[in-house]
C-alpha cells in the first residue's frame, strides 16, 4: 500500500488553482523530492498533504483518507518540518522536542515516561542529548534545525514532510542534515517527501523527483530523467548544464550575457 496517495488534488488560493488536479503515489520508505520554480505549488502541496489547507480531491495516508481523521490521529502518522519553524527562545531543547509528543497525549495530559524516552531517543539520534537543557535561543542555525528534526522524530510518525529542510544551512550542514535524514529513513523505514530548491542536492538524496510547475506535475521519475537541460530551461527559465560525475548529477548554471525570452 502506498504511504501517501493523492487523487485529483486541487488547492485554490484567492480563486486561483495553486495545485491543479494532482495524482501522486509515494511508496513506503521512498524519498520523494518535490522540485519546481517558485509558485509552482510545492509548499501548498505539502500543506494539503498535512491538511493545513483545504483542498478538493482526496488524500490518503497508508490507505486511509485524511479528511475523516482526527487531528491527533493524522499527526501520529505524519510529521512536518516547516521551512521556518518557530523556536521560542525560552524553551529548552528537551522541552521543545517533547512538544513532538503532543499527538500521543490526551488534550490535557502531561508527558509520561514513554514520552520522555521517545524524546530522548530522538535527541540521541540527532546527537543532541547533551543539549537537552540548553535554551533554544542559544543554539546556532544548524543546531536549531537538528532540534526541529528531533521534534519531528519524537512524533514517531512514519511519514515526514520537509519544506526546504536545508534552506537556512551552509553546504556542510546541508550535507550533514540530508545524510542524517537518509540514515533515519533507512533505519526507521520513514517515508520522506521534501520540497527542495537545490536541485543538485535533491538529485543526490532523493529516489524520485516530481517537478511541479503552475500546480501541475510536469515530470516524475528518477532524478537523472527529470533533470534535463530542456526541462530546466522550460520550467525554471534558467540556462544550465546537467553534468554527471561518477553517476552523480549536478546542475551547473550557465551565465548568459544576453537574456533571451
Amino acid at each position: 500500500m502506498s504511504a501517501v496517495t493523492l487523487d485529483d488534488v486541487t488547492v485554490e488560493l484567492g480563486g486561483r488553482p495553486v495545485v491543479d488536479g494532482i495524482d501522486l503515489e509515494v511508496a513506503p520508505g521512498e524519498w520523494l523530492a518535490l522540485i519546481g520554480p517558485n509558485g509552482g505549488g510545492k509548499t501548498t502541496l505539502l500543506r494539503a498533504i498535512a491538511r493545513l489547507v483545504s483542498f478538493a480531491g482526496s488524500i490518503a495516508l497508508e490507505g486511509r483518507p485524511t479528511a475523516t481523521m482526527r487531528r491527533a490521529e493524522l499527526s501520529r502518522l505524519l510529521a512536518v518540518v516547516p521551512q521556518e519553524p518557530s523556536t521560542p527562545p525560552w524553551l529548552t531543547v528537551g522541552e521543545y522536542v517533547l512538544l513532538g509528543r503532543t499527538p500521543h497525549l490526551g488534550a490535557l495530559a502531561k508527558e509520561g515516561r514513554r514520552d520522555r524516552e521517545a524524546a530522548a531517543r530522538a535527541l540521541a539520534r540527532l546527537d543532541l542529548l547533551a543539549y537537552g537543557d540548553r535554551l533554544l535561543g542559544t543554539l546556532s542555525g544548524g543546531e536549531k534545525q537538528r532540534a526541529v528534526v528531533a521534534r519531528a522524530l519524537a512524533q514517531e510518525a512514519r511519514i515526514v514532510l520537509l519544506d526546504e529542510p536545508t534552506a537556512a544551512l551552509d553546504i556542510g550542514h546541508q550535507q550533514q542534515a540530508l545524510d542524517l535524514l537518509d540514515v533515519l529513513r533507512a533505519e526507521s523505514g520513514l517515508t520522506l517527501v521534501s520540497a527542495m530548491h537545490d536541485l543538485t542536492l535533491a538529485a543526490q538524496y532523493a529516489d524520485r523527483m516530481v517537478l511541479l510547475d503552475r500546480g501541475r506535475v510536469v515530470a516524475d521519475g528518477f532524478p537523472r530523467d527529470v533533470l534535463t537541460e530542456e526541462a530546466i530551461a522550460r520550467h525554471y527559465g534558467a540556462a544550465a548544464d546537467i553534468v554527471s560525475i561518477d553517476g552523480r548529477i549536478a546542475v551547473v548554471p550557465r551565465r548568459s550575457l544576453v537574456r533571451n525570452t
Binding site: R47, P82, P88, G94, L98, A124, L129
Partner: protein, 354 residues
C-alpha cells in the same frame, strides 16, 4: 553506551521549578501580610496572627484585638486584600494567556480592549437593566458579553490589517476598540448621571472595601477560568509555535484557542465587574517572570497567577497610602508602573511575534 534511563534524565520539561514556585509564593505571602498590616489603624502583626489563629480554631489562642479592630481586620482589610489577590492573579493569567494564544507579547486584557468592553457591558447593565435584574449577578455576565465583543472585534480588526502577524497592529486595533467602547461607556454614564455617580470611580479601577460580597461574587468565575487555563498550560506552549505547527502536532487549534480566549475573557470580565479598569497587570507580571525565570508557558501561567496576586495587593497598598487619607485609583497606580514597563517590552519586541 548510555542506558535508556540515563538518557531520559536529559529530557524533562522544567515545569515549575521549586526555586521559582517558592519565590512566587513567598512574594505573594509577603504581599498579603503587608496588605493586611498597612492601614490607617495600626493593628500590629502579632494581634493579627492571633486573630487569624483564633478564626482557624487553633486551641488555646484567642484574639487580643478589640471588636472594632477585629471588624476592621475581617470585614475591611482581609476582603480587600483577598479581592486584590483574586483580581491581580486573574488579570496576570489572562494577559499571559492572550499572549500565548495570539502569539503576541503585547497582549493584555486592557490593551486588547477587553477591559473597556467589559466596562461598557457592566455600565449598560447598571443603567438600563430593570431594577429586579440589576442585581450583582448580572454584572459579570454583562461584563463578559462586552469583553467578548471587544476581543472578537479587536482580533478581526487586527487580523484584517496585518493578517495577525504583527504584534503592534493587534495592540493598535485594541486601543481603537478600547477608545470606541470607552466613548460609548462615557456617553451612557453621562446620560444617566443620577444613577451612575459611583461609576466614575469604579471605571478608574479600584478595589472596593465592601466586605466579602465581591469576593463571593467573582470567586466562581475566577476559579473556573483559572482552572481551565491552567489545565491547558502545556497546550499553550504548543500554540505558541503558531497555528500551522500546532495543527501539525495534532492540536485542534481553533477549538483550543476559543476555549482559552473565552476563559481569559470570563475571568477578566469578572475582575472588571468589581474593580473597574486596571491596566498593565497582564503585561508587567508575565514579562517580569519571563525576564527572571526565562520559561515556557507551562510554568509561566501558574507563576503569573501567584505573582499577579501579590503584585496587585502591593499596588493597592500604594493606592491606599500614597496620598492617605485619600485614595489614588488603583488603575492609575498600575499604569504609573505599567506604562514605562510596556515601553521597555515594546523596545525589546520590535513588533515581531512572540
Amino acid at each position: 553506551m548510555e542506558t535508556a534511563a540515563a538518557r531520559v534524565a536529559y529530557v524533562r520539561p522544567r515545569g515549575l521549578t521549586p526555586l521559582w514556585a517558592g519565590a512566587a509564593v513567598a512574594f505573594l505571602v509577603g504581599a498579603l501580610v503587608i496588605g493586611v498590616l498597612v492601614g490607617p489603624i495600626d493593628l500590629g502583626l502579632g494581634p493579627i496572627l492571633e486573630s487569624v489563629a483564633a478564626r482557624l480554631h487553633v486551641p488555646g489562642v484567642s484574639s487580643s484585638l478589640s471588636p472594632t479592630d477585629n471588624a476592621i481586620l475581617w470585614e475591611i482589610r482581609m476582603p480587600r486584600v483577598v479581592l486584590g489577590a483574586l483580581v491581580g492573579g486573574m488579570l496576570a493569567l489572562s494577559g499571559a494567556t492572550y499572549q500565548g494564544v495570539f502569539r503576541n507579547p503585547l497582549a493584555d486584557p486592557y490593551l486588547l480592549g477587553v477591559a473597556a468592553g467589559a466596562g461598557l457591558g457592566a455600565t449598560l447593565a447598571i443603567a438600563y437593566l430593570p431594577e429586579g435584574l440589576r442585581g450583582q449577578q448580572a454584572l459579570p455576565v454583562a461584563a463578559f458579553l462586552g469583553g467578548g465583543a471587544a476581543v472578537v472585534l479587536t482580533y478581526s480588526v487586527g487580523r484584517s490589517a496585518s493578517r495577525g502577524r504583527d504584534a503592534v497592529t493587534l495592540v493598535l486595533a485594541g486601543v481603537t476598540v478600547a477608545s470606541f467602547f470607552t466613548a460609548l461607556q462615557t456617553f451612557v454614564q453621562q446620560e444617566n448621571a443620577d444613577t451612575l455617580q459611583q461609576v466614575y470611580t469604579w471605571i478608574l479601577g479600584s478595589i472596593p472595601s465592601s466586605g466579602w460580597s465581591d469576593v463571593v461574587l467573582i470567586l466562581p468565575y475566577v476559579t473556573l477560568a483559572s482552572a481551565v487555563i491552567l489545565a491547558h498550560r502545556r497546550v499553550v506552549d504548543v500554540l505558541s509555535l503558531g497555528d500551522d505547527e500546532a495543527r501539525s502536532l495534532g492540536v485542534d487549534v481553533r477549538r483550543v484557542r476559543l476555549v482559552l480566549v473565552v476563559a481569559a475573557t470570563v475571568g477578566t470580565a469578572a475582575a472588571v465587574a468589581v474593580c473597574g479598569l486596571i491596566g498593565f497587570v497582564g503585561i508587567i507580571v508575565p514579562h517580569a517572570i519571563r525576564m527572571l525565570a526565562g520559561t515556557g508557558y507551562r510554568a509561566l501561567l501558574p507563576l503569573s497567577v501567584v505573582a499577579g496576586a501579590g503584585f496587585l495587593v502591593l499596588a493597592d497598598v500604594i493606592a491606599r497610602t500614597a496620598l492617605a487619607p485619600a485614595e489614588i485609583p488603583l488603575g492609575i497606580v498600575t499604569a504609573f508602573f505599567g506604562a514605562p514597563f510596556f515601553a521597555l517590552v515594546l523596545r525589546t519586541t520590535r513588533g515581531g511575534a512572540a
